[in-house]
């Protein structure tokens, strides 16, 4: 058990981070190369002002027509993404690990809050799952990969929660938790989770087109 733990928290963690960061860079750079090679004109339409206008507008809850049409989804989606990103970064247990290894540390979330945020992520995943199963327009475009992605995202939070309470099989769960976190990291650049990288770019391009050329709102 100990050797598995050492493996997943050691070499495998390094590998996951290298694949995550390297993969993200690879995806972004190869997209830029593609733009440069075939659609250079895109650069000439990009406008910082309208890119930011669009990104800011779509990062503000209920600032767009479609968000107002789907209030529940809007709340869930915002809460989900905020908690998804902040919880692992500012979790006491994670920061403590980093501190022990590298003597680096930063502000952490109160434990009770982190717990709630974890539950929000899990609950949001359930919401997305139900939405996929129940809404005909979502179900129609859902493939197996969409369920797998949802599971990949939910797994680190479910296992993390169980580890925190040390309910059963602490060692096994901890290993599963680390593993699932690593899977998620690696999945980000190589699956549709890459919208983390690309959404700001597509948003910026559409914002620039609408603002600079079409002189119209894109929300």
């Amino acid at each position: 058990m100990h050797s598995i733990y050492n493996f997943v928290s050691g070499p495998l963690a390094w590998l996951a981070f290298i694949l995550f960061i390297g993969g993200c860079l690879y995806r972004l750079i190869s997209l830029m190369v593609l733009v440069h090679r075939k659609e250079k004109f895109i650069y000439s339409y990009m406008s910082l002002k309208y890119s930011l206008r669009s990104i800011f507008r779509w990062s503000t809850p209920f600032a767009t027509e479609n968000m107002r049409r789907h209030p529940a989804l809007t709340i869930v989606a915002f809460a989900f993404h905020i908690c998804l990103i902040l919880t692992p970064l500012f979790l006491l247990a994670h920061v403590t690990l980093i501190e022990e290894s590298w003597n680096l540390s930063w502000w952490t979330l109160p434990e009770g809050l982190a717990e709630i945020m974890t539950l929000i992520v899990v609950a949001a995943c359930v919401f997305f799952l139900v939405r996929r199963l129940v809404n005909p327009e979502v179900r129609y475009v859902t493939s197996v990969s969409d369920y797998i992605l949802l599971a990949i995202v939910a797994a680190p939070f479910i296992t993390g929660f169980l580890v925190y309470y040390q309910w059963f099989g602490y060692q096994t769960l901890l290993i599963l938790h680390i593993l699932s976190g690593e899977v998620m990291l690696v999945a980000i650049p190589f699956t549709r989770l890459s919208h983390m990288l690309f959404a700001p770019l597509t948003r910026a391009y559409m914002g620039s087109e609408f603002g600079g050329v079409r002189h119209a709102r894109d929300w």
């Binding site: 027509e65 179900r139 475009v141 859902t142 929300w219």
Partner: protein, 444 residues
């Protein structure tokens, strides 16, 4: 005894598609799909396909989806799934029947109005993906017959309606003579080099809406505009090749148009009340030719009327009495930002504007644009069934008192005329120029 009412599954027969698919082989399909998806397309298509998280949030943007009781097959992403996703997944290894259906979806079940681009949280341009599908179908020779005929007309005559060079000049001189009965000094100046403005129209105006040329001539004359029209091919700003995916012909047609304006050394091109032509000269055609923005400034009729009224070049005798409602055409409102100027003009010439809802960028499409009405009679019911939501929207405006429907775009105009009759809405549909001509001060 009466038979039970069975809703018959309408089978559309389109010769362009039927004959087109007979010439397909598996190798050819695969080669063309890969040529377009791997060769011609680039980062945009890749980012759009990879970024889409299949959330379905674009659905409610689409009038086809809303009009078909939220049938997911008609949602924007649903149409991408049925076409592009399958092509990508199968690496181009799809059947001839698949191509036929893909052509039908992309050409007649999407107006490329880009409303969905405003509903996608990531700003994915689904219309662009549908146009990419049309491009594939074009290269495979599987395009609906009527619009293909129009594209042929562009290729042969540089105009949309097979109008011969002398017929064009003849029509202008005929309208000039007609208008001289009203204003004896009026001219439609042909080939006047160095004029400030070249006025351009779409093929259907000389073909069967010559009164629009008359009205434009009167407006120009009264406003004292320094204008001209070309007597050569290149006068037509319309472009159905843009909508069939025949980018090469689109480029030829646009080049002829811009070069004609350059030859006449005009400062600006003013165009009539047409939406798709605006898209072609302002968005797609110019880009294909390598111009970031049009090489010669393009002024849409709405913008031009705004300028004339604001500068008091045109004054209004008495405003139009009957309450009007205004349809916002996608290509000039969502595509050209003329929403407020359109309202300025309509309020300047009409007593009462009753807004339909939603409006401006969020207005529902006419279901005729994007080349769909140009796919001809086989698809009329596709347009009628596919835009019940428009009828409901128009009916609501009517119930609040609107009598006249202003549609400052040719495709919208014709499409809404069909909706109006099919759903028995009882509107009278007008261009802005119909009303402007009627209410403006003219020499006695």
């Amino acid at each position: 005894m009466t038979e039970a009412a069975v809703k018959e599954e309408k089978k559309i027969t389109d010769e362009g598609l039927e004959v087109g698919v007979q010439n397909l082989t598996a190798e050819r399909i695969q080669k063309v799909i890969n040529r377009v998806l791997k060769g011609e397309s680039g980062a945009r298509l890749k980012a759009y396909v990879d970024t889409c998280v299949h959330c379905g949030l674009c659905s409610e943007a689409c009038h086809y989806y809303l009009s078909h009781d939220k049938d997911p097959q008609y949602s924007p992403v649903g149409k991408v799934k049925q076409t592009l996703w399958k092509m990508l997944k199968a690496r181009g290894n799809v059947s001839a029947d698949f191509i036929k259906r893909a052509s039908e979806i992309a050409s007649t079940e999407c107006n490329a109005c880009k409303r969905c681009a405003m509903y996608c949280p990531f700003g994915i341009d689904i219309a662009y993906m549908m146009l990419t599908v049309r491009r594939i179908c074009h290269l495979l020779g599987v395009t609906p017959l009527y619009i293909q005929d129009t594209a042929h007309s562009h290729a042969v005559t540089m105009n949309q309606m097979w109008i011969k060079d002398d017929e064009w000049i003849d029509t202008l001189q005929w309208q000039e003579e007609e208008a001289q009965a009203e204003i004896p000094t009026l001219r439609i100046p042909l080939e006047r080099e160095g004029a400030d403005i070249m006025y351009s129209v779409i093929g259907p105006e000389p073909k069967f809406q010559a009164q629009l040329l008359y009205q434009a001539a009167v407006i120009m004359d009264v406003a004292g505009v320094d204008w001209t029209m070309p007597a050569t091919p290149g006068w037509d700003n319309s472009d159905m090749a843009m909508y069939t995916g025949d980018n090469e012909i689109m480029g030829r047609v646009k080049r002829a148009h811009f070069e004609t304006a350059a030859r006449l050394r005009v400062n600006r091109i003013v165009m009539g009340e047409c939406g798709h032509a605006f898209r072609s000269v302002y968005d797609m055609g110019n880009r294909w030719l390598g111009w970031r923005m049009p090489p010669i400034p393009i002024v849409h009729a709405i913008d031009f009327y705004y300028e004339l009224i604001q500068n008091k070049k045109i004054t209004i005798t008495e405003k139009f009495k009957e309450p009007v409602t205004l349809h916002d055409p996608c290509n000039v409102i969502r595509g050209g930002g003329l929403a407020e100027k359109a309202r300025y003009v309509v309020n300047a010439i009409c007593e009462e504007l009753i807004e339909m809802h939603p409006n401006r960028e969020h207005n529902y499409c006419c279901c005729a644009g994007g080349g769909v009405i140009n796919c001809g009679p086989p698809y009329k019911m596709t347009r009628m069934d596919g835009n019940r939501i428009k009828a409901e929207q128009l009916f609501a405006a009517k119930s609040r008192g609107a009598k006249i429907l202003i549609a400052p775009c040719h495709n919208c105009h014709s499409g809404l005329e069909d909706i109006n009759h099919h759903y028995g809405l009882g509107y009278e549909i007008k261009f802005i120029s119909d009303i402007l001509y009627e209410v403006m001060d003219k020499p006695a």
